[in-house]
């Protein structure tokens, strides 16, 4: 448990970064995890193929919300070309924890929203 709820994750859960909405986002995508009810809306502003602003809104468990907060922080300033190649390992590196198969869906929900929202990729296992 201490491994799952490490300090950084709790910090992002309690004080999420980039939570809210953007004005006129270029990408806005809602996704949810029907198994546990996690919800996320991911919004992006993109200029010259680079993410210049990112925000998320949603509700759910600490893992899904911390993952969204960490991911939005990380993708700002990155070219879409690079993000397209992101896999679950990139998210797990951000979270810095080992996650069992059930909670993996929570952790990967933001990445799933990113891939579906930008490229229309239905990649539930990221």
């Amino acid at each position: 448990m201490d491994a799952l709820y490490r300090e950084a994750i709790l910090d992002h859960y309690k004080y999420p970064r980039h939570k809210g909405h953007l004005d006129n986002p270029d990408v806005s995508y809602f996704d949810h995890n029907p198994f546990c009810g996690d919800e996320i809306t991911l919004e992006l502003k993109i200029e010259h193929g680079v993410v210049v602003e990112a925000a998320f809104d949603g509700r759910g468990c600490a893992i899904s919300q911390a993952s969204a907060s960490m991911m939005t922080e990380e993708i700002i300033g990155k070219p879409l070309e690079e993000l397209k190649g992101w896999t679950k390992d990139d998210i797990l590196d951000l979270l810095g924890i080992e996650i069992g198969p059930v909670r993996l869906k929570c952790a990967l929900l933001p990445l799933k929203a990113l891939k579906a929202g930008v490229w229309g990729i239905d990649d539930s296992d990221a």
Binding site: L4, K14, C36, C61, A62, I63
Partner: protein, 407 residues
């Protein structure tokens, strides 16, 4: 009467440790643990008597058939069915509902007909009826809930009409724990000429069930929630209905005669058991029923009632905890709750670290959660082998959830 310690010793898994702590298994509404007697019955079948049933004339096949059909007889007596021919083996309660929906429902329902279910159903007693009413043009209606988690029976006069062909309802809610007045609801359905299907997935494992006293037309339940193995389930049906209903699945064992221009069906119950059944699992379920009968279902019900009453008293002292559903007098051994704004998955994960297994999610009953305006809940659910100490550990661990998540 056996002591709780002796009963717990019958269940090998209850000796397990999780994260260095004794397992407190409080997820019995999802599935129960299995006593040695069940494991041994299945092991004995595979080691000594494994053969297909109803086919061979050799010794093993005869022994396997005797065990398989013997289990049917014991399960029939367990629910006081008039005949073992009215006990049909399915994979689980879900398949049993689907059997009725696809066999009776497709054959019977027409536009203008209505099927009545309730807002507290498990998805297993919602989705088959959505599928079948859509295909037949019949209408699906729901008995709503009141804020205490009881059915709005005051609306039954409007909802149950001469258009209603079937009233399908849960005997005990897997989320709210609510115990519905089954015999009364069956009588109300019969009063308008409708059939009554009872979802006994949570009631048959936990309290005495007598299909003749309830007078229900169908009863469905799952073996794995009552000390039996997964893959074993039961449909009980009134004989003349089962006789009239067409087969659900076609294949071996369900036929009397197969010709290229058509086939004739086997008699009950085999008409509804196409293909090689779950032989070991059914034998295991027979052993589970013997085990439960040995303990006594009245005793099991009283034991769980004492556990749930104590649990509700203790849980109400946890800060921010809100229990869904009625008080202990009207419920069985399932207690679903929310803990402030904390997501149930986080609650369950932190409890797991303390060796405590509970369920988190919508428990396959999304309409109940929609009614309360929540996405999910946490649920502790008890069986006779649980202890008051396990409930104390649950309450202490819930206090810890607050300190870990700090909200």
């Amino acid at each position: 009467m056996k002591s709780i310690e002796a009963i717990r010793a019958d269940f090998p898994i209850l000796q397990r440790e999780i994260n260095g702590l004794p397992l407190a298994y409080l997820d019995n509404a999802a599935t129960s643990q299995k006593p040695l007697a069940v494991l041994q019955a299945m092991d004995d079948y595979y080691r000594l008597r494994n053969a297909n049933v109803h086919r061979g004339v050799h010794t093993l096949s005869e022994e396997a058939t005797t065990l398989y059909e013997g289990a049917r007889g014991r399960i029939a007596r367990f629910i006081n069915a008039p005949s073992s021919k009215q006990v049909i083996f399915t994979r689980n309660a879900t398949e049993a509902v689907n059997l009725v929906a696809y066999s009776w429902g497709l054959d019977t329902l027409k536009p203008g007909d209505e099927v009545l279910i309730t807002q507290m159903e498990h998805h297993a007693n919602i989705v088959p009826w959505q599928l079948i009413t859509e295909r037949t043009g019949a209408t699906l209606r729901y008995v709503p809930l009141d804020p205490q988690g009881m059915l709005r029976l005051d609306l039954l006069n409007e909802l149950l009409t001469e258009r209603t062909r079937l009233f399908a309802f849960v005997a005990m809610s897997n989320v709210l724990g609510t115990i519905n007045p089954v015999a009364e609801l069956v009588a109300r359905a019969h009063g308008v000429g409708a059939l009554a299907l009872v979802d006994g997935a949570q009631s048959v494992p936990h309290l005495p069930v007598d299909v003749q006293a309830l007078n229900c037309d169908f009863l469905v339940f799952s073996g794995h929630k009552m000390c039996g193995p997964t893959g074993s389930g039961v449909l009980y049906g009134r004989r003349e209905l089962l006789e009239r209903m067409p087969p659900f699945m076609g294949g071996g064992d369900m036929i009397r005669e197969v010709r290229l221009d058509g086939s004739r069906w086997n008699t009950l119950p085999w008409k509804f058991e196409a293909g090689t059944p779950a032989i070991a699992e059914v034998i295991g379920l027979g052993a589970a029923v013997d085990y439960l009968t040995g303990l006594g279902m009245e005793w099991a019900q009283q034991r769980e009632h004492a556990l749930v009453r104590y649990a509700m008293e203790q849980l109400e002292r946890v800060e921010g905890l809100r229990i869904l559903g009625p008080g202990p007098e009207q419920r069985g051994g399932a207690v679903a709750f929310t803990l402030g704004e904390i997501h149930p998955h986080d609650t369950a994960a932190i409890l797991d670290a303390e060796g405590i297994a509970i369920r988190a999610g919508h428990h396959c009953a999304q309409p109940i959660h929609d009614f309360y305006g929540i996405a999910a809940s946490a649920r502790a659910s008890f069986y006779f082998y649980n202890t008051f100490e396990e409930i104390d550990r649950l309450v202490m661990a819930l206090d810890k959830v607050h300190s870990v998540l700090g909200i």
